[in-house]
Amino acid sequence: MVSRDLVIVGGGPAGMAAAVSAYENGVKDILVLERDQYLGGILNQCVHTGFGLEYFKEILTGPEYAERFIEKVTRVPEIEVSLKSFVVHLAKDKTLTYIKPGKLETVRPKALIMATGCREKTREMVHIPGTRPAGIFSAGLAQKLINIEGLLPGKEVVIVGSGDIGLIMARRFTLEGAKVNAVVEIQKQSRGLLRNVVQCLEDFEIPLYFSHKIAKIYGKDRVEMVDIVKVDEQFNEVAGSQFRIACDTILVSVGLIPENELIEMAGVELDKNTNSPVSDEVNETSIPGIFVCGNSFKVYDLVDSVTKDSVIAGRIAAEYLRSLK
């Protein structure tokens, strides 16, 4: 089995920042495992601006923010990047098993940083009654289809939840010629940033319904319409407030959860509510030598905060490696 000083799982903003930071703090044998065919993670599909104002003091798009780190990572020969490498197993002793096209590999690092990011909550987690037709997407999946694959997944859209990705996608669908008929938010205020409510909804006169929820989804093969209903303070439906909106597509944007199944497999203790690792110190876990950073540690609003957090993770992993000698 191959042995390494440091393995980092994930080549998105967190993994790249952690790799550069670990290198700058003296680690000279680093392997980054990325499941996609390029570095950058979710930033590649975030073609809008809003990144980097804190960290670079510039307004950047997602791909531009990623490029700054891709450049750094690829310039350092001590950081090896393995693309199309999907980790399938993590053991307690940090042995990782991953698949690459045509190969199954194992590697045992002395220190491990998990930078696996987060995933979107789904329709199943918010319980929307009705049929189960085609046309229901998480907002991030729709973003990938439009910005990476060049496919427009629908023409008349209703968005459930006012998370930032949902707001950004309302504008994106509109710019691509689709019609966004409503954004429906059960809370009294937006979950996303106010600036996104302004520049993504108000700019295009897209209606936003606070204290409303989808009562029912209709459609046999494809989504046909939804019933929307007002809710009171206790989130109970207000009788007589129901109305119907036609649509062929529903986007769900109701928040993100850290993706931590691999460390759970290794026996790291996770908080059942947040899915974050239980730890006394930032980035540490209940297993010494396994660190977690970025959105898999805790879901951040801004990528700039992910970078800061991951820079710390790179440094403490370097300190841990020094303490072993």
């Binding site: 791909p63 409510v197 700019d203």
Partner: protein, 121 residues
């Protein structure tokens, strides 16, 4: 007349109170930094936005090339600009910031690539 607007220049999203007389901004309050005042003026007199989108690629390693205007364009031209964007095809490798289309709709803004794009390997 006092108009309430939300500043979109940074994630803080300050709530600005803009005093407007004859379509001109007289004073701005609620901004936490000078950018807020500039934004309020532009928003009332001529709102501008950076357009971000993705352009179809042909014969390259990716299907779509992410792109932006290198400076803000009038908000009222966003949809028209998208019509122009949809007719564009990127056929050669590009670096970040390289021009895809010059002077979009005569706005003076160029559409530039936001990602390094290579040939199909």
């Amino acid at each position: 007349m006092i108009k309430k607007i939300t500043c979109i220049e940074c994630p803080k999203g300050c709530s600005l109170a803009v005093d407007i007389e004859n379509c001109k901004v007289v004073s701005v309050t609620g901004n936490e930094c000078p950018k807020g005042e500039k934004h309020a003026k532009a928003e009332v007199e001529n709102p501008m936005r950076i357009l971000t989108t993705a352009v179809l690629a042909e014969g390259l390693a990716v299907k779509m090339v992410p792109a932006r205007t290198d400076k803000p364009i009038p908000k009222s031209l966003l949809m028209e600009a998208m019509e122009a964007v949809k007719r564009i095809r990127v056929e050669r490798p590009l670096g970040v910031g390289e021009v895809i289309a010059k002077d979009l709709l005569g706005t003076g803004a160029d559409l530039v690539s936001t990602r390094r794009v290579e040939k199909t390997s």
